[in-house]
Symmetry: C2
């Protein structure tokens, strides 16, 4: 019986590769990356770990299971992309720490005006920007209490803030959450918050969630952060809210479009910090470790010894 | 019997002023600020709250007690400045939250490369700076475990880091500290730390503490922060450590000289964030609240009902 082939399209470290090969000697591992992977390799694989181009999967006749390195899976669930028999799993959870920490850092940057001080530094200017905001006792509204929003909430709670969560299912209130509401309370809660954080996936329901009306409900002293998807926010409304100082400041890692064109007026507003959708990816080494852990757990499932984790229903 | 006069040279809010007047109707309060205060007012006061020019105190014949809004008191303890009978108290503790939070924010900014992303933003550039550092499980060396260093340590502990403290008296280890050492272990601990934070006062003993040799002991991947006093650091050694990438990055709020001249080469180094000695002052409104609390407690002492807090021995 020939060995099943596992095509890993991921920047796993040498150590991680060795660990996988040693744990599963009955499998034939091929390690490559997104740019180098060939159609031939995809066609020959029983297992794929990593996001290969979805269009190339139609010829993957041997494929039994694919594990995505992303949490998102939209590109892989359309009609005719993957045969029904193929198991699809994703990496939900792997990015919680990386993205949660990133938005924590952005929260602090805007609260303490470090972006203004950086601007002055580049001009070699010793300038005082006056009053700053505390990092404790703030009312923090987290819209979307999944892994990422939840991790941010835990950190902000540990620093002494009040955490208000909005999500669909409020039957279980996590320990770090002070108050929890469903989406029908969103408008009211937006008007009470010092910090509003969107940590939702893209969906028809969340599309344009933060619009002109909702930015106007925010306190003038409040800050806004988006670490979900660009589609959650009406970009023109965000621009107006900041430009007219309806809100104090913002930090966004996701936007529409991406990359943000050089001529987009948002770049030039002083009271926003923009990062180019880098909070996730593999920029925090721990993320790769977490994805490998998920992949290893699911290799155990492929070997017939466990149930698959993070199965995408389709 | 005429009322004793309390000259408050501080930006107390109207509310805070009312509270003080209502609590002590037997006292005659004069509220002014550093720029407006007159020699005549100082001469007539039994009590001064706030840092008036030290040189003007020599004619303060009626003065019984002065409360400084600063933690530092060097300017007030020299020969012939204050008569021995005058009680001198200071505001140690009032700045712990403001300065501790500021250095926390700088730690996150450098860890997540937010200063680089800000630089790109000013150029309207969508650029990816790659790997970032985690905000947890770091070995954080705090040199000087007073109120400010301690507050920062508490916050970093709450986020899941390992706290190593250096101070003179190690008989009592605070709960948030994992390891505590005296100054003879400084060099060894510097070589082990991911984050080195100086939170010491200026003194002949701490002058030039961070020199070329000690920067060379730091890990290449480590970060350095100074929130104590500029005199703690050999500025040329700091410049060399950053310029030659002996260390990963730095954040400083205090330096020599202040203001840092526009032509100073430190401004232009990419891997340092500089703030112009603004972490303290009254920039966090809570600081003023804390100073007022100290002043109120000591007004109770002036009334004979309590012991003075924060008495400076001289």
């Amino acid at each position: 019986m020939s060995k099943n082939t596992v095509l890993a399209v991921m920047p796993f470290t040498k150590e991680q590769q060795e660990q996988m090969k040693e744990t599963y000697p009955q499998l034939n591992f091929i390690f490559t990356d997104y740019k180098s992977v060939t159609e031939e390799e995809i066609k020959d694989a029983e297992v794929i770990i990593g996001n290969v181009p979805a269009a190339q999967l139609k010829n993957a006749d041997k494929l039994q299971w694919i594990h995505l390195n992303s949490a998102g899976y939209d590109a892989y669930v359309g009609e005719g992309i993957l045969p029904k028999k193929v198991i699809l799993t994703n990496s939900t959870g792997a990015y919680d720490v990386a993205v949660g920490e990133h938005v924590l850092a952005m929260t602090m940057e805007v609260s303490k005006k470090l972006h203004f001080y950086r601007d002055s530094q580049l001009k070699c200017e010793w300038s005082d920007y006056g009053e700053v905001l505390p990092l404790h006792d703030r009312r923090v509204l987290i819209v979307g209490l999944g892994g990422i929003g939840g991790y941010y909430g835990k950190l902000m709670k540990a620093l002494g803030n009040n955490i208000v969560g909005i999500r669909r299912n409020i039957k279980v209130k996590p320990d770090f959450v002070d108050e929890i509401y469903t989406f029908d309370m969103l408008d009211e809660q937006i008007s009470l918050a010092d910090i509003v954080v969107l940590a939702l996936p893209a969906s028809p329901q969340t599309n344009g969630l933060m619009n002109e009306e909702r930015f106007k409900k925010m306190k003038k002293s409040a800050m806004f952060f988006n670490i979900g998807r660009g589609s959650l926010v009406d970009m023109e409304a965000l621009y107006q809210a900041l430009e007219q100082k309806q809100i104090l400041g913002a930090g966004i890692d996701v936007m529409t479009p991406e990359p943000l064109p050089a001529e987009h007026p948002l770049w030039k507003l002083p009271n926003i910090v923009i990062t180019p959708h880098i909070s996730g990816q593999f920029h925090l080494p721990e993320t790769l470790t977490r994805i490998q852990k998920l992949a290893m757990d699911n290799l155990e499932a492929f070997a017939g010894n466990a149930a698959y984790r993070n199965v995408v229903k389709r």
